[in-house]
Amino acid sequence: MDATTLQTIANQRRADAVTMIHRANTGHTGGSMSSLDILTTLYYAVLSVRPQEPHWPERDRFLLSKGHSVEGYLAVLADRGFFPKAELATFSMAGSRLIGHPNNQTPGVEVCTGALGHGLSVGVGMAIAAKRLQKSYRTFVLMGDGEQAEGSVWEAAMAGANYQLDNLYAIIDRNGLQISGATEDVMALEDFADKWRAFGWDVAEAAGNDPQSLLTYFETPRPAGKPHCLIARTIKGKGLPFAENRKDWHHKVPSAEQLLEAYAALGVKGVDWA
C-alpha cells in the first residue's frame, strides 16, 4: 500500500476516533491523533495479522503501551475487520468492551494496557518467546514519550538488549507533550536517542505523521542482534487545527462544531458507522 493511500486511511481513522470521543464525551484526543499515522502504517502495510483469526499463532504482535490512545487503535482494528465497525458507537458506553484503554476482550488486543510502562516488558516476553519457539513473528510496541519516565521502560530496554531481540520494535510517539506540558519541562528526555543507544538498541528517527517516512523505515533492513527503537516525531492533535500542539487537548473533548471542523480539515465527509 502506498503512502498516499495510507494518509487517506489515517485521516478516516482520525475522523472515527474524534467522533467516538465526541459521542462518548470522553477520550484522549491529542495522543490518538498523533499516533494514527503510525498505527495505520503498521496495520495496513507492515503487520502480518489475520483479522478473522486474531489468535493465529504466527501473527505479528502489537501492543499499545500508551493505552490512552485507544480511540485511534480501536478505529484501526475495526476497519481492518477484527470486530464490526458499528461497535465503535458503543465506545465508553456502559458494559461495552470498547473502553478507555485497550482491553483484551476486544479481538486483536493482546493484553490489557493503560498503566504506563508495562508494554515493552510484555513485548520483550513475546520476542523472547519467538526466539525460543523458533517463530518468525515480530513484536511492535508503541509507547508515548511522557511514558518514558516510567522506570520499568528501562528495565525492559536492558532486557531487550541483553537478549539481542532483533525481532522487537519499540516505537515512541514523540509528540513532545504530556498532560502537564512539554516533556522537556515535566521530565526532560533529551538527548533521547542517545539514551536508547546507550541501552544497546538500534535507534532511528522518522517523521511519525508521514506514512512515507514510516514505510521507508520499516522497509529498510535493520541491523541484526539488537532490538530496534524508532523515535517517531509527531504532532500532538495532528490533523485537528484547534488541537495541534496544544497540551490542553490531551483529553479534551471536541464540540459538535469542532467535529465538523475536524471533518473538513481531514478531508472526510463523516463516518460510516454513526
Partner: protein, 307 residues
Amino acid sequence: MKTEAARMAFTRTLLALAREDQTIFATATDSRGSVTLNEFADALPAQFVECGIAEQNAIGIAAGLANAGIRPFVCGPACFFSMRSAEQVKVDIAYSHMNVKVIGVSGGVSYGALGMSHHATQDIALFRATPGLEIFIPADGPQTVALTKYLAKSSEPAYVRMGRGAVPNVYEEPAPFAPGKANKLREGSDAAIIACGEMVYHALKAAQALAEEGIAVSVYDMHTLRPLDEAAILEAAETGFVVTVEEHNIHGGLGGAVAEVLSQEKPTRMRILGLPDAKHFTGNSAEVFAHYGLTAEGIAQAVRKGR
C-alpha cells in the same frame, strides 16, 4: 519427622515436569539461588529466562511468554513480587487473564532478621482484593509437590506463597490436594482452628495438646485462599468458636477471609492470630513466631481463652 523446604519441593517438581513439557518455563530475578532454580537453569536453559533484579519487568515478560503459549512460572522473593510488581500482576496477568504462575518464595517472615523490607505479610490481603488470581499457601513439601502438579496443568493465573526454611511434613506423598477445597486434618466439636502454610503444623500440635486436656478441636488446612472453601468455613463454625492462624498481617488475610464469610453467613465467635499491625519484632522466623504467639502453645492458649 521428615522436613523439607517448600521451595525445594517446588523446584524439583517443576524441573521434572518441565523435562517432559517444553512449554513450562521458569523465570528468575537474580533469584535462581534463593528459589533453588540453579539445577533447572543448568538443565533446561532454553526454558529458563533470567530477568535480573527487575520484578516489574519479570512479570511483564512472563505475560508476553504466556501470550505465545508458554506456561511461565515467575519465581522470586514474595516480598518483591507482591509489592514492587503488584501493578504488573494486577494488569498484565490478572486483568489480562494470562496463564502465569507467580511463585513468591521466602514469604511471610522467612527472612526473619533481614527485617520488614524483606517480609511478605501483606501479600494475601493485596491479592485477595485483586480479582482474577488463584491464591495458594502450601503447608509443606508434599503439598507443594501436589500443588505444583496442579499449577502445571491449570490455565488460571495464580499467586503462590511459600516459605524459605525446611518445615516438618504435615503430609506424606502423595499429599491430598484439590484447589479450593480445604483439608480437614482433625475432627473435634469444641472449637475449630483454620490455618494455612507453615502454621498448619503448629495448629495440629496445638490440637494434640488440647486433646490431652479433653478439648476436642477440628483443624483445617486452608491452602487455597482463592477460590475460598466457604463450606469448610461454615462447617468449622458449627463448633461455635473459630481460631484462624496465619503468617500474615491480622488484617485482610486468612482471618479476614474467614470473618467475611462468617459475619455474613453464620456469625460465630472468632480469634484471628497473625502478625500485628505494627513494626515487627526482629529475629529469625521461629523467634518472631514465639514473640507473637504463633506457636502450638500460643494457638492452644487462644482456644482455651476463647471457647
